[in-house]
């Protein structure tokens, strides 16, 4: 499944990044960082062309040699990024979509926790568990 899951605040700073434990975790941080430009571009094009995508799911942002990066932006401009391995060919678009949906639901539940201050880093265990389930099954 996913090798990296990230949540980015509307002001574009990371709220949560989780990667599989490897020696080059920093590379994933870099990948997530670079995809922000692509997200920005896709979101700002909404409303300009007639065949725009008004869905929250943005689809494949860009493929690299080893990974595919998918994006999702909520109405409140919080960005979710999921990175999967390119070799993982049986991952369908629909599955990714469902993963984002689960992630979004978990995020909303987390935000409704009175002990969380909006804009803070995510430390919720429930949210952690949801992400865990996306990462492990391999």
């Amino acid at each position: 499944m996913a090798v990296c899951v990230a949540v980015i605040a509307k002001e574009n700073y990371p709220l949560y990044i989780r990667t599989i434990p490897t020696e080059n975790e920093l590379k994933f941080h870099y990948t997530v960082h670079t995809c922000l430009d692509v997200i920005e571009e896709k979101v700002s094009s909404v409303g300009k062309s007639s065949n725009d995508l008004r869905e929250l799911y943005l689809g494949l942002l860009y493929p690299t040699e080893d990974y595919k990066v998918y994006g999702y932006v909520t109405n409140t401009k919080v960005k979710f990024v999921i990175v999967v391995e390119s070799s993982n060919t049986q991952m369908r678009d629909n599955e990714i979509r469902n993963m984002f949906k689960t992630l979004h639901n978990a995020y909303v539940d987390m935000l409704c926790n009175p002990f969380y201050t909006p804009g803070e880093n995510v430390k919720s265990k429930a949210f952690d568990n949801t992400v865990n389930q996306m990462m492990i099954q391999d």
């Binding site: 008004r54 869905e55 909520t74 109405n75 401009k77 639901n105 909303v108 409704c112």
Partner: protein, 156 residues
């Protein structure tokens, strides 16, 4: 049946509680406390309500969402009238504002109205802020239970 009124009663108690725990000569503090509560609630609420809705294309789209969906979710009705000058000022008019209907239908208790409108103002402001629209929200009552909310967008 009863769950329709739970929020109303809770809100009355919140106002009551904040009033009791703040010194009586500090009326502004009561208002600002209630407004802040509304802000936090609005932030979470809008996150929940916009979960399924498609992406908004414009500011007006966002305001319309507040008038329809947010109002429906919180007050079980829609805003009766929305007016704008197309320069960042929107006036949302509700002819039978839910939180005021229990109080009076006339001029009685007029001076108490601001306390009961602070939370809703914060709610709108918090919701809009989370959607990326920074604004100032003020409320205005001429005859209860009608109420006007003025949303002034802050552009930087």
């Amino acid at each position: 049946m009863a769950d329709d009124f739970i929020f109303d009663f809770l809100h009355m108690e919140i106002v009551n509680f904040v009033q009791r725990t703040t010194s009586p000569d500090d009326k502004d503090k009561v208002i600002s406390k209630l407004e802040q509560m509304g802000y936090r609630v609005g932030q979470s609420l809008i996150e929940k309500f916009t979960r399924e809705s498609p992406r908004f294309s414009s500011e007006l789209d966002i305001i319309k969402f507040v008038c329809k969906d947010l109002w429906n979710g919180v007050y079980k009705k829609q805003v009766d009238n929305l007016r704008t000058n197309h320069q960042g000022v929107y006036v949302l008019q509700d002819n039978k504002f839910r939180l005021l209907t229990q109080m009076s239908s006339g001029k009685q208790y007029m001076e108490a109205a601001p306390q009961y409108l602070a939370f809703p103002c914060g709610l709108i402001r918090g919701g809009l802020a989370n959607l990326g629209v920074n604004c100032v929200v003020t409320a205005e009552v001429s005859t209860m239970p009608a109420c006007k909310f003025q949303v002034m967008i802050q552009r930087t």
